[in-house]
Amino acid sequence: MKLIAKLTLFNTVSKLAIVLLFVSLLPLLVNEILSQYTNHYLRQQKEKVLAEVQQKGIDYYLQGQESYGSYTMLKEEYISLEPDANATYRDTIETSPRVIEDDTLSYRVLRHVFETSNKKYVLEVGRTTGTIGRYSQPLQRLALSVLTGLIFLTLLIDLVYTRIILKPLNTIISRRILNARFPFKDAAPPVKTTTSDFVYLDRCLVDLMKKIKDAFDKEREFTSNASHELMTPISILQNKFENLMVHGDVSEEIQEKILAMMNTLNRLKKIVRSLLLISRIENDQYAKTETINIYRMIGEVMDELSDRVEAKNLKLTIDIPLNMEVRGVNHDLIFQLFYNLINNAIRYNKENGSISIMAKKTQQGPCIVTVEDTGIGIQREELDTIFNRFKKSRRSSEDGYGLGLSIVKSIADYHSLDIQVSSVQEEGTTFIVGFP
């Protein structure tokens, strides 16, 4: 998951959680606020009444009567004054039912006991709970909508801000990693950002790439030098042997000895040449710009090898669509790949055996080419290592080190080809080359 997606997801989820918490607490909160407010209101009313009594005397209310009671038109509020000699001085606020004109209603009631003119009076100020709860719903609704609006606003701001702040990271990823193709050319200018972490990351990547490029250049130079240094002495020896071979004094016996030396030298030459080829492939020294027709390519390879097919009396089947093409490859390397595979298919085949070379288009990639033989096969335990350099196997035991399949592997890797091998001993081997 991308960082920006993670951040956005986290922001959204955390805000959603807060909203849910708030929504679940909202009725409680609102009711608490309302009850606090009501208590406060009732106390205020009480103070007003007491102030009146103080100023104007209790008779201002009683007007000669024993007790006093007053309520508003819809009985939402009431005040009552009653003498009660046994009352204790204790203020209470509680919710309790009161009967007013035959209506039993639930009230929030403040009860206060005070003494005036040597008489104890109980003052009650009440308010219907219905009136109190009236504001609960609209209040909750308002709070919720304001909250929702704010959450959306912060989410939007978060999103835009994370986008802006993470933009340099995206630039670094695309410029340094996704678009960087080996071998790296000179590094692009540093990414502009005020975030020091990104500056550091960018600088580190540039340094790293420069190091890789330097190592790569060094290796390329080494290959070139090594090739020169190794090939020159081999060249001198080979030419000396060639001249010696026809020297007048050389007997037939000596000639055979020279031949043996030439063969050994040739073996050395082959190994050095193969290693240099692999090294050059791995150093990216071959252009992959050509388009090849598979049918024609196999035809070219068979031009070189058809004599061998005849000599072993092999049955050759080629089934390749005439117009099948692969792009972005190196002609010479792909030629060598198929040459090595088909040459092996002939070499390790039995007399009167058969070879079939097939190609077909698949849905995943442009095409796959199969080279199948009826040869001696490869032992199961050797299958995993046949592409390894210098892995001596039964197949190549007669002629020393086999680098042919290592070359095939290098070429396949270089072109991102998928190469698979399956084999049944004494029945045959199948190589499948898949072009991407």
């Binding site: 090739s227 081999i234 060249s235 071979m245 037939e252 063969n263």
Partner: protein, 226 residues
Amino acid sequence: MKILIVEDERSLALEIEAFMMKAFYLCDLAFTAKVAQQKMLDSKYDFILLDLGLPDLDGLRLLELAKKSCPDASYIILTARGDLEDRIKGLDLGADDYLAKPFSLLELQSRMQAITRRKSGLKDSMVPLGDFSVDLSKRVICFNNQVIDLSRKEYDLLSYMLLHKNRPLTRLQLSEHIWGNFADDDYDSNYIDVHVKNIRKKLTAFAPVEWLQTIRGVGYKIKVEA
């Protein structure tokens, strides 16, 4: 035919010279680009064999300069660097051929002969061989004007042996000529035997081929009177 061998590796230059002299070429040696340029001014050459890794001047640059002072010569690049770019650049600059070291002297001579034939456009390219005659330009072998059906590789083999007549050729030398860099040790050498057997069979149907000799333990030789 006169050759200038431009090669800083002395012992290699001497081997090339020894071989070419045996093949009746006149040879001059130059171990540096400076000497080579002087020699090119002094005399005319048919062939200039040019090593790219010279101590005092890049071989490709020398080729560029030499093409001006010796435009008629044929140039063959000899290099151990093996860079693909060098090969392309060299041929672009007008080199006639390119041989990567290590190369066989026999192969070098064969390439020189091919260049000569290409450049001179010889009409009369029939070479007698026993009771047969080889047409080097049409690349066929005939018996009494009748073309004998040889495969391309069989013809290549025969003409290579003919070029190096009276000289024992190893199976390796022959297979390197036929398959080039793809030649693969003893395994390919065995196919040389198959090809020679086929050549013998096809030709013997017309006339005896006692000139095509097997040299036991070594290889083959075409033996004809000089």
